[in-house]
Symmetry: C2
Subunit: 199 residues, 2 copies
């Protein structure tokens, strides 16, 4: 297909399967990497190999980093008694870019979905309940998308935490209906966090 | 920025610089690679390292492959006396997907451009003239884009080859005005090749 030999075609096919890419962009990327004389591809390969070896999920919050406990959970300055619950790591990173939140996170790894048969036991909700009991948490901020699945998940967690006495809030102002968190600009996220409402 | 540690952020920044990608798609890709338990990232890294080490430009035609002479130039069945001239390797691969051409190629590595100060000496035009003299070539097919730069380049090459006696043709029917070859579907390229006209 690519006429460049088996290994180059295999690399293009592998890259074409990455999210947001397709055959055409994969071909463009591989060709550019091959043609850069400075060894851009070798550098990228080495970096990937190292990340593949060292990246792991934080045992506490589910963030991705190069240690068992991520830099945010390790940072004593972030033990504010607030946990921000997010659907996935991309949303955690989006929150961090907003620089509006000084506490810690909890990554659910998805939303509840009847359609996709994702129940509470498939998400990291039990671990969240455990953290409320173990850490000195005053407030849980549900920073979930304003989609049906996101809001179903938010309601479920609010119920599950009802007896713990912790304050449960949700992002309010600024998140458009149907809006995915990771698509919003940083300022919108900041505004939504500041105007958070009690659940 | 990515809150995931220096190396992960470095990888995301490197991927965001690839053609067609940006910070958001780079983050999505890196997160997916990290989360796939089957070691997808390690495999991709190994494949990239190998391609980085082995990929090179064909000494004859400029195609990219894993040997000094590419599989097309090595293939005796493709010594048809026809050379198809393309702007870059992506266009060569686009021609090959069309499966309409059975000869060999010559990659220019760009188009003439007064604006970008790209003259004939910056392209592989002297090598093309040499090949006409050395190989038993009857026809040169100029498969260049229907842009100002592509057609300027085509006219220049037609002039440069005028004294060799070789027949110079160009893709005719099917390439839309202003159209980049690599964006066309395979059938359009095939039709344009079949209806090629004498320059
Ligand atoms: Zn953590
Ligand atoms: Zn070749």
């Amino acid at each position: 297909m690519a006429a460049g030999g088996d290994e180059i075609e295999t690399l293009i096919a592998a890259m074409a399967r990455l999210p947001g890419l397709g055959p055409r962009s994969a071909r463009r990327i591989v060709l550019q990497l091959i043609r850069k004389r400075a060894g851009q591809m070798a550098q990228l390969a080495a970096l990937m190999a190292s990340v593949a070896e060292n990246a792991r999920e934080c045992l506490v919050c589910g963030n991705v980093s190069q240690s068992d406990i991520c830099p945010i959970c390790e940072n004593p300055a972030r033990a504010s008694g607030e946990i921000c619950v997010v659907t996935d790591v991309a949303d955690l990173w989006a929150m961090e870019r907003g620089r509006a939140f000084g506490g810690r996170y909890h990554v659910l790894d998805g939303n509840l979905s009847a359609l996709d048969e994702i129940g509470p036991e498939d998400l990291r909700i039990p671990q969240l309940v455990e953290r409320i009991a173990e850490e000195n948490i005053r407030e849980v901020i549900l920073a979930l998308s304003a989609t049906v699945e996101g809001q179903t998940t938010a309601h479920y967690i609010a119920e599950a935490l009802a007896e713990t006495g912790v304050t449960v809030t949700g992002l309010a102002q600024g998140v458009p209906i149907g809006g995915e968190l990771d698509y919003l600009d940083d300022g919108t996220i900041t505004a939504a966090l500041r105007a958070r409402r009690k659940f």
